[in-house]
Amino acid sequence: MYALEVKNLCKSFGKLKAVDNASFNVPEGSVFGLIGRNGAGKTTTIRMMMNIYMPDSGEVILRGSTVGQEFKNSVGYLPEERGLYKKMRVLETLLYFAELKGKAGKNLTKKAKEYLERFDLTDRINSKVEELSKGNQQKIQFIATILHDPEFVILDEPFSGLDPINTNLLREIILEKKNEGKIIIFSTHLMDFAEKMCDHIAMIDHGKIILNGSLSQLKSKYAQRNISLNYEGDISFLNNHQMVEKISDFGNTTGIKVKLPEHTQQLLKLLIDNNVTVKKFDANDISLQEIFVQLAGKEEDVMEVPYV
């Protein structure tokens, strides 16, 4: 059962085709990652999903009917570029964003205060937002995203610009929401992070969806003949070796693709025979990054090393 179905979305800005016939499905209870490099069309897709932009064509279906205000009310959205009213006070800000979602009342105020306490902000409850540090402003923004208890949490590049403390805090929130059975959708260009958090993904490149589905299924499909290796020593003898099709260095790990499935065992033996210390040898494993490089070609900015 799908919670959201994205069907044939297209969006152009003048001559630029930002999103080109994008289709994918977000299953109930999933953590869904929309993955692609900067400028691939992630934000535009997310904006269309939330009806901030109208698609040129295509539609987004929420459990059987086209998305509209009802969806907006059940979404907590954290955009990539975050902002708050500087002159507004902390509690006032939180209550205002919830009021826009149609939530108000004593319970909500109580909940807001609980969150502030949990995030160590109780003493700033009546401060103006501009008096807070940047990190604390980000915390306020997180609370504003989830205070109205949304069924969908949509995060656009959620970890960009966060300090390590807030990165952990946000990860905590995501996991908590996942355990509550909420649906979490986020976009990111950080493959490692997506790989750790998501169970379903869609990869977007130049506005086109190049891959989508459950992460484990995708991995097993792309992982045949792939070995993910951590080692110490010299493996240059593998270059141009008859059973190796390709070697890719990803920094922490090295991806090796052999020509035939039975070569996997032979490779391990070869490494040991050549005095290479094998720290991790993961047969039939492939990183999301490798899949992406296979599909989209050049690596460029997908190589960025994440905080997490």
Binding site: G14, R47, M50, N51, I52, Y53, M54, D56, Q69, K72, N73, V75, Y77, L78, P79, E81, R82, G83, L84, Y85, K86, K87, M88, Y96, F97, E99, L100, K101, G102, Q141, A144, I154
Partner: protein, 422 residues
């Protein structure tokens, strides 16, 4: 149109604006500033800088000199010491020599000027004025009336006229203005309404410019700080714009109502006793009309200012981009001044029905002319039609602009936005 989201936006606008220091300051300072300007202007106009003026009046006969002295000593500006007048009798043939002798006095500040009334003046009223600054007309203008009366007296004194006839000849022309209107009685009218019309035009102009720019800045703040994307995940851009504009419209109208309170007090109470020439002749209904018109004006212009705010990324670009909106306020403002001279000049009449212009021109015109109701009604219809015509377009530009970043868009790009499907 007014669901809970629009109301939430509207409430926030009201809270933010009504409680702000700048609103309270504006509400108090603008009237002070306005009356200050009027006061300074009146002061500058009335101050002719002619205190401590020393004039010598010379005639050719001792009799005329005496008559002048007798007459001039009674004048206000002589009595209060502003003018010190000395008198002398010199024949026309000697006047040049006399002036030569007085040259030193005229160049210094012992003597401001010499007025010579030759014998011939009794036939042609031609006088001579000697000064080192003869282009300064203040002294001749002040003196010519009294001299004329002296000459008249002298001229008619041997013509055997009665005092009454003489009195008549001395009188100048005095117009009394009467306002003819649909009302039954014909009333004598002073400057009160003209001043009020000035005031109305000024208040419209200043309020629209100031509050319009504030709305623009507030849209810019949302755009620049990226709050708008969070807002748009909850409300549609239409709801956001509606809430914002109604919020600022209510604030501005409330402020205007406060500014109108003194006028209301003048026309409906007896607390203020105005001199008859300044009595204002308008009704409470008139003030209500003014407020309704203002309400519509704020909706229209704040809509435009908000749109400009959404188009540009930083406030400098926005400042330079708002000139078309400024012109829509300023040109009608200047037209509204021509009305005060002649309320029936064709430009005034036509512009009081044109979109945008009618908002500025009609209130002033209505203050000085008694307009039939249908004219106000037509003006109102034009305003409502203007709102209906511009808001779908403004809304589209707002929607595209508010999320757009990057280089400053050209006007032709902005026009293209209207065709975008957003």
């Amino acid at each position: 149109m007014f669901n809970h989201r629009v109301l939430a936006v509207l409430k926030r606008e009201l809270r933010e604006k009504l409680m702000s220091k700048s609103f309270i300051l504006m509400t108090i300072l603008i009237p002070v500033f306005m009356f200050g300007i009027i006061g300074v202007q009146t002061l500058v106009m009335s101050y002719e800088g002619d205190s401590n003026t020393k004039v010598e009046v010379i005639t050719e006969s001792a009799q005329l000199t005496q008559k002048c002295q007798l007459y001039f000593d009674d004048l206000d500006f002589v009595k209060d010491g502003t003018y010190k007048i000395t008198y002398n009798t010199v024949a026309a043939s000697d006047i040049r020599n006399y002036i030569d002798n007085k040259k030193q006095d005229l160049m210094g500040d012992k003597l401001t000027g010499i007025i010579f009334i030759p014998e011939k003046a009794l036939e042609n009223k031609k006088l001579e004025y000697y000064s080192n600054t003869p282009s300064n007309r203040t002294i001749p203008q002040k003196i010519d009336g009294p001299v004329n009366k002296v000459l008249l007296d002298e001229y008619f004194s041997n013509k055997n006229l009665s005092e009454d006839e003489l009195q008549f000849a001395r009188m100048g022309i005095d117009f009394s203005s009467f306002k003819v209107s649909e009302k039954n009685e014909i009333e004598e009218q002073g400057f009160g309404n003209t001043i009020l019309a000035y005031l109305f035009s000024f208040m419209l102009y200043i309020s629209l410019l100031f509050s319009g720019q504030m709305t623009m800045q507030s849209v810019q703040e949302e755009k620049n700080s990226k709050i708008v994307e969070v807002l748009l995940s909850s409300v549609s851009s239409k709801e956001l714009m509606t809430g914002k504009i109604f919020g600022s419209t209510i604030t501005s109208t409330f402020q205007m109502a406060i500014w109108l309170l003194p006028v209301l007090a003048i026309i409906s109470t007896t607390w203020f006793v105005l001199p008859p020439e300044f009595v204002v002749d308008i009704t409470v209904g008139h003030l209500i009309y003014f407020l309704i018109n203002f309400f519509l004006a704020v909706i229209i212009f704040h809509g435009l200012f908000a749109t400009v705010g959404a188009i540009f990324e930083n406030s400098q670009e926005a400042q330079s981009g708002m000139w078309p909106v400024m012109l829509l306020i300023m040109i009608p403002f200047f037209i509204s001044f021509s009305i005060l001279r002649n309320p029936n000049n064709p430009m005034a009449v036509v512009s009081s029905y044109l979109p945008f212009a009618t908002l500025m021109v009609m209130p002033g015109r209505y203050t000085v002319v008694d307009l039939p109701l249908w004219q106000l009604f037509v003006s109102g219809l034009v305003n409502v039609a203007t709102i209906a015509a511009i808001f779908p377009l403004a809304g589209k530009i707002y929607r595209v602009g508010i999320l757009r970043t990057g280089k400053k868009p050209s006007w032709s790009e902005v026009i293209k936005w209207m065709k975008y499907k957003y």
